[in-house]
Symmetry: C2
């Protein structure tokens, strides 16, 4: 594209560096900013700058937080004996939205991926081990691995399970199977096969 | 969504005000910024701020420009007797990319839409009339209306054509029909019907 102005070309180039945004979408967004009042752009850029400069991470679970210890880790209502290990921040939001979990979290910040050059030392795995080995306060009795059902996720789950062996605590993983409302005939065979192998007891009481 | 941090909540709210971006995409973009180096966000916000604060529009055709008169309007190679009227800036880029047009442009900045409260006075229609009525320099002999094939676009074309009547210049509109490579059977009946009514002479010379 030949842009009529260096300013718009520069803005389009910067916006299109964001994931999932191409040049055409970037141009549409830039032109949208031009049609809005000037404080629209000011509010947007201020929010982004503040986020990037002042972001803090919880020193315990590594989730994003406004304080040194996040509201979940510092809450007296949460069960401190269970830690749910997730890949990233949106996973915490997703699990919190279910209102089915009352334990703590541990955000790894990614999963082990040799192709992308991400090793265990790039993730918060050592911090997790540290957290569990600390004997002060309430003891951790269970670790739930809620990592993606991909090769990288499975590798990470396997690695963490091995590391946790010496502590003799319960390690579980979230159930994989047919989604609620899902049709058997449209489910892929790996999921369906696994849902048969990992079948659970059923009672009509 | 309950965000773990006010900073991220604020950023997500601002990003999701952009067209076509929902809360989930906004969160993904915000987390992407956090994973990049700090100058990534700085470059992005600086480009947006510069664009919004320093943007200029060509005083003749109202396209975005770094100078008072844009490179198209000031070029000696362009045919100044033809003006192509378009809705907005991306349309100029699209027509320029075809390399089939060598005249000037006129960017209206929208089309007449009573539902959205956009009347002729909100667009650069008066400026177009002024431009054509000016007798200095090269005379305009043809106006090409390249507006969208919607009710709003047609209304705007109709309005402009009426206004141009007194000048006795040629007014044309871009051809509507089957796209190149398009199959007849998959074309909607309005387009197909119109392509028969507006058929053009064909010769095998």
């Amino acid at each position: 594209m030949n842009f009529p102005s260096k300013l718009i070309e520069n803005a389009v180039n910067e916006i299109s560096k964001l994931p999932g945004i191409g040049k055409k979408t970037a141009l549409r967004l830039a032109l949208h900013l031009l049609k809005q009042k000037e404080n629209f752009t000011e509010d947007l850029t201020a929010a982004l700058t503040d986020l990037r400069k002042e972001v803090k991470y919880c020193q315990i679970c590594h989730n994003i937080s406004d304080t040194d210890i996040c509201s979940i880790c510092s809450s007296h209502r949460r069960d401190k004996s269970i830690i749910c290990v997730v890949e990233d921040i949106p996973d915490v939001l997703a699990i919190e939205n279910t209102a089915q979990y009352n334990g703590l979290y541990h955000v790894l910040g990614g999963v082990i991926s040799p192709i992308q050059g991400i090793g265990p030392e790039d993730l918060k795995i050592e911090a997790l081990i540290q957290r569990i080995s600390e004997t002060e306060g309430e003891k951790v009795t269970e670790v739930i691995l809620a990592l993606p059902a991909t090769m990288e996720g499975d590798t990470t789950s396997f690695f963490i399970t091995r590391k946790l062996k010496e502590f003799g605590i319960k390690v579980s993983t979230i159930a994989r199977g047919i989604p609620i409302g899902g049709e058997l005939e449209y489910t892929d065979e790996i999921t369906l096969g696994r849902s048969i192998l990992t079948r659970v007891n059923y009672s009509a009481d």
